[in-house]
């Protein structure tokens, strides 16, 4: 099969285990070949070389040999201990061998031709001691300083790299960066399979580290400069993990924490794994809305992370207690974790890495960043945007629902988020202050929400001691009434309604009375009618009697007269 054959011809890779580096090198360093790691002083070359070996054994079971030209073994052990690497144990278990090579030019007289066979012998010796698959040479350039005959050193280094390839060990060679060149002594000429450049610079008094894969023969690789950081877990590189926007999407929902807001979205809340921007001017209730979200998430048993750039955890807990969100209980039960730091504590990258690490360790389902706009203190908009892109990609990949609050300055347009991040967001809730009748009242509306038929209504946003309540705003002709103006208008409406009701009741009564009167008249007439009928029949009876009496009289008179 064609796919299989391409796989067979693919460059074999050697995973470094260094967070992020394997992603941008599409699987690691070229296996069985040397890789050059260059950079200025203090950029983390030695650390990277050591981490390559330590992780190599810890994560992939491959022992390593470290040849140090600059630091002695004890120094390496001490320096690595601060990163949690227990070198003495690895050395005891014969998984790591270190040889410190010391050359002091002033102590050596050169008396003729020589070679560096002893270096090869020593290297081979430590490789064989532990059966090393990975080798680090830090910093091989010390040979140029220690030996006068540069031609010999160059020839021998060339031979060394060939020899290492033949040994089939994956090697990391560190080198000091030169002025305008990758390395001071042009090592990149010899080690041309893979070159990684580390950089450490200070901008606006904040130090940032970066890493770039300058070249990688026979492999695709990310070509950008990637933010890098060194902390107690070693080196981390931050790739934009989803250059191709391939994150999973969910059809599940997570509640906003405010029932009526759920209704406004689609009845269920935010999409799980989506990014939500809550923007508004100062004091519009952004933090409260974020607190409602985490409170509900915790109530539903979801782990949540609250990253605060502005307030201490205690302050957030106290303040949210006043609107009936007891966040303290979730902190105690371990569902909620606060992380509070001034943005200027460290550079953007560190914040990002911190978030990455927290998210990986704590595995939250919901996360709040409050407020994201405070990062402007440590980076310009472009950098923040880049960082947020990375962060959002990361969170989406892990299906973590994130609420970002964003402070809009009073003067700027409301529907323009401070750091130009709205296009990254799936749902955008806008909180606004409305001033009328000597009052400021909050209103909320859904500016956008991708993938759902959301409400177009504005709601008044009330912070009460029973929590957040949304209520209808009074929309009159050309005005939106909120607060007591709304209450007054509602009272007026109720009064008018009452009057209308009363009027109709009165009319009802009148009609009823009229009907009753007519009914009474009707009864009287009927009575009279009956009386008349009776009289009539009496009169008729009398007439009949009179007629028959007259007839009888006539008959008697005839009889008396004896007529026939």
């Amino acid at each position: 099969m064609p796919t299989k054959s391409t796989n067979n011809h693919k460059l074999p890779k050697c995973q470094t285990g260094i967070r992020g580096l394997d992603e941008i090198t599409a699987g690691g360093l070229p296996r069985g070949r040397p890789t050059l790691v260059c950079g200025g002083p203090g950029c983390g070359k030695t650390l990277m070389a050591m981490e390559f070996l330590v992780r190599g054994y810890r994560d992939f079971g491959e022992p390593g040999a470290f040849m140090a030209f600059e630091e002695r073994e004890e120094e390496l052990i001490q320096n690595s201990a601060s990163l949690g690497f227990d070198l003495p144990r690895l050395i005891r278990e014969k998984k790591l061998a270190i040889d410190h090579v010391h050359i002091e030019r002033s102590e050596i007289e050169e008396t003729g031709e020589y070679d560096l066979d002893a270096l090869f012998v020593r290297l081979e010796s430590i490789i064989d001691q532990v059966g090393a698959k990975r080798v680090a040479l830090d910093t091989v350039e010390a040979l140029f300083a220690g030996l006068a005959n540069e031609a010999i050193v160059r020839a021998e280094l060339r031979r060394l790299f060939r020899w290492l390839k033949a040994k089939d060990v994956t090697t990391v060679i560190t080198a000091e960066q030169g002025k305008g060149t990758l390395t001071r002594h042009g090592l990149e000429e010899y080690v041309s399979d893979c070159v990684i450049l580390l950089d450490h610079r200070v901008t606006n008094q904040i130090a940032t580290r970066r890493l770039r894969v300058v070249k990688y023969r026979g492999s695709t690789h990310g070509a950008n400069e990637y933010p890098t950081m060194i902390d107690e877990d070693g080196l981390s590189v931050l790739p934009i993990s989803s250059l191709n926007l391939k994150y999973p999407v969910s059809r599940d929902f997570i509640s906003t924490g405010v029932d009526r807001l759920d209704t406004m979205l689609n009845g269920k809340g935010y999409y799980k794994g989506s990014s939500i921007l809550v923007s508004g001017t100062a004091g519009t209730g952004k933090t409260s809305l974020a607190a409602a979200f985490v409170d509900r998430a915790c109530r539903d048993g979801r782990k949540s992370l609250y990253y605060s750039f502005e307030e201490s955890p205690e302050q957030v807990i106290r303040n949210m207690g006043s609107i009936a969100f007891d966040l303290g209980q979730w902190v105690r039960s371990g569902l909620l974790r606060f992380e509070a730091a001034r943005p200027t504590l460290h550079g953007l990258e560190n914040h990002l890495v911190n978030l990455h690490k927290l998210a990986e360790q704590f595995k939250p389902e919901a996360i709040v960043i409050d407020p994201v706009t405070n990062l402007t203190a440590v980076g310009d908009f472009r950098e923040i945007r880049a960082m947020l892109t990375r962060l959002i990609d990361f969170l989406k990949n892990r299906q973590i629902t994130a609420v970002f609050t964003s402070l809009s300055e009073g003067g700027s347009a409301m529907e323009q988020s401070e750091v130009g991040i709205s296009s990254l967001m799936d749902t955008w809730l806008l909180l606004r202050m409305v001033e009328s009748a000597n009052e400021r009242n909050r209103i909320i509306y859904v500016l956008k929400s991708r993938g759902m038929a959301h409400s177009n209504q504005m709601r008044e946003f009330l912070l009460t001691d029973q929590g957040i309540r949304l209520s209808d705003v009074y929309v009159g002709p050309g005005t939106v009434l909120t607060g007591s103006a709304r209450l007054a208008q509602e009272a007026k409406d109720r009064q008018a309604e009452l009057e209308k009701t009363q009027a109709s009741a009165l009319r009802h009564r009148e009609l009823q009375q009229e009907r009753e009167q007519l009914q009474a008249q009707f009864c009287a007439i009927q009575e009279r009618l009956r009386g008349l009928s009776e009289e009539l029949s009496v009169v008729a009876g009398q007439e009949t009697e009179r007629l028959s009496a007259a007839k009888e009289e006539r008959r008697q008179m005839v009889t008396a007269r004896r007529a026939d």
């Binding site: 002893a118 012998v121 220690g146």
Partner: protein, 106 residues
């Protein structure tokens, strides 16, 4: 072809007087042998104190190369009771430089 015996272990500094030369080489190559020959000649011509030469093959004893910080080959280390060890690298073909390295030339 001059043959030389190599030793696998260095004895403690037993030279109470006189010099001990330790010559580190890699195998019995032409360069190793040439270097040994150069050393012997220089010693016989210029060294007035008693001397002893030990040849160490780092292929056979890599640990000695580690222990004594040998990088380049051949390396010559001269130990003497009255001074710090001196270190020379190369095939000792440049006699003037060897003599400078051994402190026999001002």
């Amino acid at each position: 072809m001059v043959q030389f015996k190599t030793t696998g272990s260095t004895r403690p500094r037993s030279q109470k007087k006189g010099w001990l030369f330790r010559l580190y080489v890699a195998g019995q190559t032409a360069r190793s042998i040439g270097t040994f020959r150069n050393l012997k000649r220089i010693c016989e011509e210029y060294v007035s104190v008693p001397f002893k030469i030990e040849v160490i093959d780092v292929f056979k004893s890599p640990q000695l190369a580690v222990l004594n910080q040998i990088v380049a080959l051949p390396t010559l280390i001269r130990e003497a009771p009255d001074g710090p060890p001196l270190r020379l690298i190369g095939d000792l073909s440049d006699t003037e430089k060897v003599l400078t390295g051994l402190g026999l030339r001002p």
